[in-house]
Symmetry: C2
Subunit: 207 residues, 2 copies
DNA sequence: CAAATTTAATTAAACGTTTGTTTAATTCGC
DNA sequence: GCGAATTAAACAAACGTTTAATTAAATTTG
């Protein structure tokens, strides 16, 4: 908490390294490449973060969503469907905003490397899951929802948002967009949210 | 095509390397680890495959589904919904059977490494996408389906199967299974297929 | 306030490992 | 005894990290 510019520089390194890790994966990115891109001496990475792996862990932990606001946010809604749709919109927004980060997270969770990190992420994800699962279960109990497969339903919600978020080049090709950026503009975000609303409304509501 | 045992040994190496690449990612696996696990001399990898990267490419290309059978298979069905469900079941089966392979594929597609390989995979995936997209479009034209967002619908189908296939430890935890293997037994496969049927039936059919 | 001193930030160079690949010698099957 | 399969050893290059020296900034002192 000294010179604020020092923390700025630290944040710069974190941002640049995050991008590189998202593009290439942890092992494929060398500390030399990070230092080159961030225009710092290679020794500064050990100096700031201790090691390449600790830098990686800091990148991950700094952005893990605190679902506190989300949990408070849902209270504003009456029906479980509206709560669920609020969650879908919030998660979509967060994923759109931090696409590089999400790439790292989901790649890390699919690896058997750095198992303590994977365990940590799975535990975090599990809690979010549980929170949304409870909404759906409550909806079923109140007969607002059909008696669907709860776990698969919630998993599907994440799966769709995740795939859209992390498969930019693929979706770019499918939807005949010129640039990957076009896949993630405001219009497309709202389009995805509307789609999720339609899909899960048909799936959950009776008739 | 000489001594069949030689090809067996080659296949062994491909299988073992596939597992390692799926677990750890391309860069994290060393040729020494592959040779140790396969109980061969390290030089044999260059001897058989030329290089680590060519070994990797061979692992990928040998299992890319030929969608010929799939395209012929759908002809046995009358309605577009039944065709789509046949595709869903077939893809699920294939993904369940080759989980390690699918992990590699989707990780590779999310990386900006080995861009020619990623481009190749995206092109392949695009064709499969197109095939399924056509089914949905035909269903809409015939008024068998509601006028849904076609691309997002097809993407969702893949997204769900993919997430289920590649997030074993996660799903294991959510569903309170003891072992990851339990997530991928016959019963669970049928459960997932039934879920997909319910979800997309509600999404696609009028009312 | 300026000089002296301490602390922090930054650097170039070197460290010991590990990497993928190659070489040259040897073993094997026919 | 000849060609293919297999081996141990060596290769240069790249890796993450550390060192020791230097510059910059902050603090203390007279």
């Amino acid at each position: 908490m000294q010179d604020p510019r020092i923390n700025d520089k630290r944040e710069d390194i974190l941002d640049i390294a995050e991008r590189l890790f998202a593009e290439q994966g942890f092992e494929a990115v060398s500390v030399r490449e990070i230092s080159r891109e961030a225009e710092i001496n290679i020794a500064m990475i050990s100096y700031y973060f201790g090691s390449k792996e600790k830098l990686y862990e800091e990148i991950i932990k700094r952005k893990l969503i605190s679902y506190k606001e989300l949990k408070q946010g849902v209270n504003a809604f009456d029906t479980e469907l509206e709560k669920l749709m609020f969650v879908a919109a919030t998660v979509t927004q967060a994923f759109f905003k931090n696409r590089n980060f999400q790439k790292i997270i989901f790649r890390e969770m699919s690896l058997n490397q750095r198992t303590h990190m994977a365990d940590y992420l799975i535990e975090h994800m599990h809690q979010n899951f549980q929170f949304i699962t409870d909404i759906v279960k409550r909806g079923i109990r109140k007969k607002e929802f059909k008696p669907v497969e709860v776990e698969l339903t919630v998993m599907s919600l994440f799966a769709i948002i995740r795939m859209y978020t992390t498969s930019g080049t693929m979706i770019c090709k499918i939807t005949n967009k010129n640039s990957v950026e076009d896949v993630y503009d405001e219009k497309q975000r709202l389009r995805l949210i509307k789609f999720l609303r339609d899909l899960f409304t048909a799936h959950l509501l009776p008739q």
